[in-house]
Symmetry: D3
Subunit: 157 residues, 6 copies
């Protein structure tokens, strides 16, 4: 592949025409990391209920974010996601929270942007809830881990 699919020959942004494409089951996994200071890490660690609501808010926001992908990213097609999962894991030794997302659908185009958007919105929500304690957090390593389905089949990082 040697050209951007979303830019036409005269340089204009362009929604790819997927009208003729086959409906197949497609799935994508993405991940991101939120790095924070020790105080924030230990506040998340302390007490299940704290982590519960912080992680629940990020998880729910990530799921909702996946459904808004076509509204956020101009050239994305509207899609009928059949599954969105957002998992958060505190990796205290590394000073970070790891977020992994998974999206699925039976459709004509892949769902990696949906998985990335879910991870991005979950990360931002976590940032929002912890920023009073550590305004210097960083969101790192947002990328696609794996995608399956469609003409290209399996791709993994």
């Amino acid at each position: 592949m040697s050209e951007f699919s979303h830019i036409s020959s005269n340089g204009e942004a362009n929604m790819v025409d997927v009208t003729g494409k086959a409906v197949t089951t497609r799935e994508a996994l993405a991940e991101a990391f939120v790095y924070m200071n020790e105080e924030a890490i230990s506040l998340i660690q302390r007490g299940d209920h704290h982590k519960g609501d912080i992680f629940a808010a990020a998880r729910i926001a990530g799921i909702q974010g996946a459904k808004k992908t076509a509204d956020l990213i101009p050239l994305c097609h509207p899609l009928m996601l059949t599954k969105v999962a957002v998992d958060l894991e505190l990796q205290a030794a590394e000073g970070r929270v790891r977020i992994e997302t998974r999206c699925k659908l039976d459709g004509k185009t892949g769902v990696e942007m949906e998985a990335l958007t879910a991870a991005s919105v979950a990360s931002l929500t976590l940032f929002d809830m912890c920023k009073a304690v550590d305004p210097g957090m960083r969101i790192e390593g947002l990328r696609v881990l794996k995608k399956t389905g469609g003409k290209t089949g399996l791709w993994s990082a």
Copy 2:
């Protein structure tokens, strides 16, 4: 500061009450980087019009994203942004595009989440447009650079 402002004493997610806070001019800067392979870098580099529409789409999506912050992040207040700027710079030697965003308002609460959301959506849009050439891109270093205004005044990374 030693507690998460968005989690109440019994562990529940909680929108901070800003009713009594003063209206001041607030501003926030954020940045992010999108790393991509040489082929993607050189396609962006080649020809102004190509870069034009790719960067224009990311810039516009970032501006629109900033305005959707309260819709994406559950505990953010609705805000009346008075300015959103999104700048993209191709840093070919580093194999990346740098995105810098700036948000302003006269209001009762800070705009760092808006600046981060703008940077995040601009990054995702860039990813979407280049993913046919490099599906292995990574979004890195999303963070607040500086914020001013409000009771805490200047904070910088």
Copy 3:
């Protein structure tokens, strides 16, 4: 059935995976009642045009609300509704307006949440338009009346 489908074994909110489910015609009916004082009832009763625009606004808001269900309810799947109907009936003797909604689609998951959301938004719109006359209104009896389609087939209240 003995477990919540939307809560995973470790207690986390969870969007049900409907990827493998069959596409069938599904339909759901819901109802709600808005109770109001005599003055509000008689103002609605007086003159067709009054009732016309009050009921038209509630009907249109209810239809629009049905289409926003996946945006409002975190674990709902995005759906392609093929029909939404919202009917309002003034039941003056009972001091109330009855709202009945019906949603349909050919899809992989039921539409009862869409019917309930339509009834809910229509009720709230009616409340909004009558609240200057009766701020003490109550919305009661919002429930599913019947649903058909899918693996479970017919269910009725």
Copy 4:
């Protein structure tokens, strides 16, 4: 007061002009009840984490719902909420969950529709998560409990 504020003299739906009104601190409380069968009640009761994520999802959806009020209810003005709170309480003996919401802002118009919308969306989210166990749930008693601020001052149910 003897006429609907939202219907003009010729019977047309009408957004009230609040341009000239004073900015005051306004607050509204609303409540709703979700009635469910014993199996659903005891599943919510069993284990903190279960209740945690079910209640967290409803709380977050309710907060997000309050921010969407002007998008859902046609004649509502866009508002800058400064506080939204959604509290859920399991009242097992009564076979129900009680939802209480509170909205605040410094603005030109009241926030009772925002409090009602928050309660409504939180109720619907609870319904969605429990419907596999009890599809016959009912949402009852959605009403305003109290509102303060503005020209009319305190109103309570």
Copy 5:
């Protein structure tokens, strides 16, 4: 005035910074016309209730559209509209419906885009409801009639 306010000196789309601008009462009027064939005109004319719901739907959609302006037009600021009015008049002799809209707010930037968006969405809604009878309708003459407030004061077409 000799340059586009929304394009920076290096040609990039740019949200105008209104942070320092004064809050004044601003108002804008816009109009549009929907031309249709005789059959559509006479169906609208026949019976009040028909016209009622067709015009009510267009009016409500137009009001809702005004509130979505900043979501639709990339460089528009989010605004707190204090009044939106949408009026429709059947001008049978001219074979058209005239739509006039009016928006108001106390704010830092004008509301002509909101008035235009209201007129545009009301026109499209009318088109949608009549297109089965006349798919060849045209929407013409969408423009600003008058605006007041702000530094430039009164402007009229």
Copy 6:
């Protein structure tokens, strides 16, 4: 055809039931014109980058607008567009910009409202960016050019 499909026999606004309709490939073309004064025309003409970002913003807003059709027009069904194209052409001699849009999907209902909405939002975005130079612009001739697919097959203006 002799009755409005969206108005029921008792005069109420009504979403057409498309549950039973066949899935076919459907396409629609629409156009609109934005008339502006010489100064605005020559500013658009001058320099590729200027036109680039102005046209890019309108093109992207138009694409995004098409995806919001069911949110804007009350009785439109939610659709899964497979292609949206928005083309702008400066017709300096005629003192106008011509906008042509094209929408496609495999679905149960036509996409002419989506094409019209794309053209409408692109026009409004162009208006917004040029209004500082010419507040007297007019949007004219918004109409469907052609539609194909479905039971009625080809229709052209």
